[in-house]
């Protein structure tokens, strides 16, 4: 604890230096337009990422007339609940809100996301293409990305070596390794089948080619239980039946411990996970390694994304220009963006940072000196951009968690869960007035 609090203060001092340097740098680089407010304006931002205020203050240093207050109204789900309640009440929305990629369609549908295009389009080429595609619709821009989660594989080198397991390049090899480990080392699992996080399920299915939604106006295509989903369900069902995967709820202390203790030998996860692990694990220092995400076809190069966030401005804000300026700054200012990576440990969305060899190639002792980020840099460029989320993604996630967990607990197979999911989502969409096909 003592060590940690020291680290915090050290960070703050480093930040002061960085901020000073950043101020000089951005003064030169500048943003592509100059919409500095004449009167004093205060913006309210709802965000839960720790220390977001630090970047917000950097913005105020550059634009002294615009101050930004960051409030944390809840982490993930509860945050969106607050937003929806405020929308329902017709009052109380902030000027800006943190918005994950998968929530953008839902809030766009509710008509509360302001078009940031005027401020943001000039900097669009600085962003990794798929992240921009996920937030924009032609020239309309609904959020500015600053965090992404391209997928990869983290694994325990010690467990792999001890049990003579090769790093699996394909999902077939991953399955074989799972079965082998279950036989050779009972009590150790190749992985945890994380059905309690619908975001993870969507990410791994995204890679498999699953495209459950396509929305055009009030018409929506829903294909949750297509052949791809069924094949994927059968793949995991086989491992669940063979007790070759664990099924712990994710994000519990038990689950963290299973990773730390080597009970889970690998985790197919996103680019923000390496630092998260490093911060939470005490015993497994130096034992972890990173590898590319397993592929469905040998030699394939398809990856997907899990998580990642943007800032979106609300249509209700009385200061739309300042809000757009702020959101754009938070994503594209070189110093602010670098700080997301160095302070909040998020994975960048700017090409300049992804291509920064010094930044991405730094060796990491927790991973035995491996430059783990290099793996995820490759993945970032392989993310298939054609995935669409539903305009009621929270309902889908909730129902998916319920149904898949029910299947794990014994009511039918995982394939049945997708059938039930399809029925419920179609019923919901119809009830909400969509024309479903």
């Amino acid at each position: 604890m003592e060590k940690d609090s020291k680290r915090m203060t050290l960070d703050r001092r480093q930040f002061m230096q960085a901020a000073g340097a950043g101020l000089a740098a951005t003064a030169v680089a500048g943003l592509p337009f100059a919409a500095a407010a004449q009167d004093k304006v205060e913006l309210l931002l709802w965000a839960w990422t720790p220390d977001t205020q630090v970047q917000a203050d950097m913005f105020t240093k550059k634009y002294p007339n615009i101050s930004v207050k960051v409030e944390n109204v809840g982490q993930g789900g509860p945050h969106y609940v607050k937003l929806r309640n405020a929308i329902q009440a017709g009052t109380g929305l902030p000027d800006l809100a943190q918005m994950e990629f998968n929530s953008i369609p839902s809030f766009k549908q509710l008509g509360v996301l302001a078009d940031l295009g005027a401020a943001a389009n000039p900097v669009k080429d600085q962003f990794i293409d798929w992240t921009w595609k996920a937030v924009s619709d032609g020239d309309k821009v609904y959020g500015i990305p600053w965090d992404s989660g391209p997928m990869g594989l983290l694994y325990r080198n010690d467990v792999f070596e001890k049990n003579k397991i090769e790093v699996p390049g394909t999902w077939d090899a991953y399955s074989e390794a799972s079965l082998k480990l279950a036989t050779d080392a009972p009590g150790t699992y190749m992985s945890n089948f994380g059905v309690s996080d619908a975001g993870w399920v969507a990410a791994v299915l995204w890679q498999a080619g699953w495209r459950p939604f396509h929305t055009e106006g009030t018409n929506i295509t829903i294909k949750l239980n297509d052949d791809i989903a069924k094949k994927w369900a059968a793949y995991w069902q086989k491992l669940v039946d063979a007790k070759a995967v664990d099924t712990k709820p994710m994000w519990t202390t038990e689950w963290f411990a299973a990773l730390d203790d080597g009970v889970h030998a690998s985790w197919v996860t996103a680019a923000w996970a390496p630092v998260l692990m490093q911060n939470s694990m005490k015993k497994s220092v130096g034992l972890w390694r990173a590898a590319p995400m397993p592929q469905w076809t040998a030699g394939g190069t398809v990856t997907s994304n899990w998580g990642g966030s943007t800032f979106a401005a609300m249509t209700t804000t009385p200061h739309p220009e300042e809000a757009a300026l702020f959101a754009t700054f938070m994503g594209s200012d070189p110093e602010a963006a670098a700080l997301w990576n160095s302070k909040q440990f998020l994975f960048p969305v700017l090409k300049s940072l992804i291509d920064d060899k010094a930044l991405m190639g730094a060796p990491n002792a927790f991973y035995g000196g491996q430059a783990v980020n290099e793996i995820f840099v490759v993945s970032e460029n392989q993310v298939d951009p054609s995935f669409e989320f539903a305009p009621f993604q929270d309902f889908v996630n909730q129902t998916m968690q319920d149904e898949m967990s029910a299947s794990i607990a014994g009511s039918g197979t995982l394939g049945d869960a997708f059938d039930r999911l399809q029925d419920k989502v179609v019923a919901y969409a119809t009830d909400q007035g969509y024309t479903v096909s």
Binding site: V81, S196, T252, Q432
Partner: protein, 301 residues
């Protein structure tokens, strides 16, 4: 303080007997109307409409209510609560009664200490109670799991499909047993002492006296606590809501009816349907309480 107020008022206001009750009721009733009746009417209004993402808002009359009556997600939750209540209420109140009788018997050491100690869990917010028990239930880090591991016994599984309802019930028992115990104890203390003297002259033992004389005398109190427990049970929300992170697969989004109403409003944005679910739940609570009261009265008569 009361004196000061009265003196200040004595010269100015003379409130008559006919006006007084309204004056005394005014502060409570004003707030009662503003924060209970008005929201309730508002919710009832909501429940008669349907707002959709695409088609806007329209009046649907009783359609939401008809939907509740055939909604398995709602009734599964009600069935679960009956199971929960049939397990939790008798255990909680039975223990509370037993221990109240023991405390009241006068045959114990440290009576005041125990009386206060048993009440303390009531001071612990349910958020914190659920968090603490959640840790205690943990298979690896929970002390019960650790003890089992130390003695090479199978680890107790508190968070699985078959056991979690009991685990949640345990939290509720822990939180509210002391509260009910104090109520019973106070009722027992109010029993005139000459009754015991009379019965001991008749040669009745302490146990006989407790069961034959004391228990019937505090039955009205017991019935009140049962009704309040039924109401509390049917509104179960906080504990499963907070335990959900530990067992997301079992505690699903419609685990209890209250939880379902919450999900409908806050995740699915079906505010109207959520209001209808809450009203039907309120109806179920009223019916169950009423039926219990009828049964209790019939047996008493």
């Amino acid at each position: 303080m009361p004196d000061a107020v009265a003196t200040r008022r004595r010269g100015r206001v003379y409130v008559t007997k006919s006006v007084a009750p309204y004056l005394f009721l005014l502060p409570f009733m004003a707030l009662f109307v503003a924060f209970l009746i008005a929201p309730l009417c508002y919710a009832f209004g909501l429940s008669l409409f349907k707002t959709t993402m695409v088609a806007g808002t329209q009046f649907v009359g009783a359609a939401n209510y008809l939907k509740v009556f055939t909604d398995p997600s709602f009734w599964d939750g009600v069935v679960l609560l009956f199971k929960f209540g049939l397990m939790q209420i008798p255990i909680m109140l039975g223990l509370a009664l037993l221990y109240a009788l023991i405390l009241d018997s006068g045959r114990v050491y440290g009576r005041n200490f125990f009386r206060i100690a048993f009440f303390i869990p009531y001071a612990v917010p349910s958020v914190i109670a659920a968090l603490l028990w959640g840790y205690l239930y943990g298979p690896s880090f929970g002390p019960f799991g650790q003890l089992a591991e130390f003695f090479h016994l199978p680890k107790p599984q508190f968070l699985l499909d078959g056991t979690i309802l009991g685990s949640i019930a345990n939290i509720a028992v822990w939180e509210f047993m002391g509260y009910n115990l104090i109520i019973y104890f106070a009722a027992l203390q109010a029993i005139p002492q000459d009754l015991e003297e009379a019965s001991s002259v008749d040669g009745a033992t302490g146990l006989q006296y407790a069961l034959r004389i004391k228990l019937p005398l505090i039955m009205p109190t017991v019935i009140v606590t049962i009704i309040f427990s039924i109401i509390g049970t049917l509104q179960l929300f906080s504990e499963p809501y907070l335990m959900r992170n530990l067992a997301p697969g079992i505690i699903n989004s419609h685990y209890t009816p209250n939880f379902y109403a919450y999900t409908l409003a806050f995740t699915n944005q079906q505010y109207n349907y959520s209001a209808a679910v809450s009203f039907v739940l309120g109806g179920v609570v009223a019916v169950v309480s009423y039926v219990f009261m009828l049964l209790a009265n019939r047996r008493a008569a």
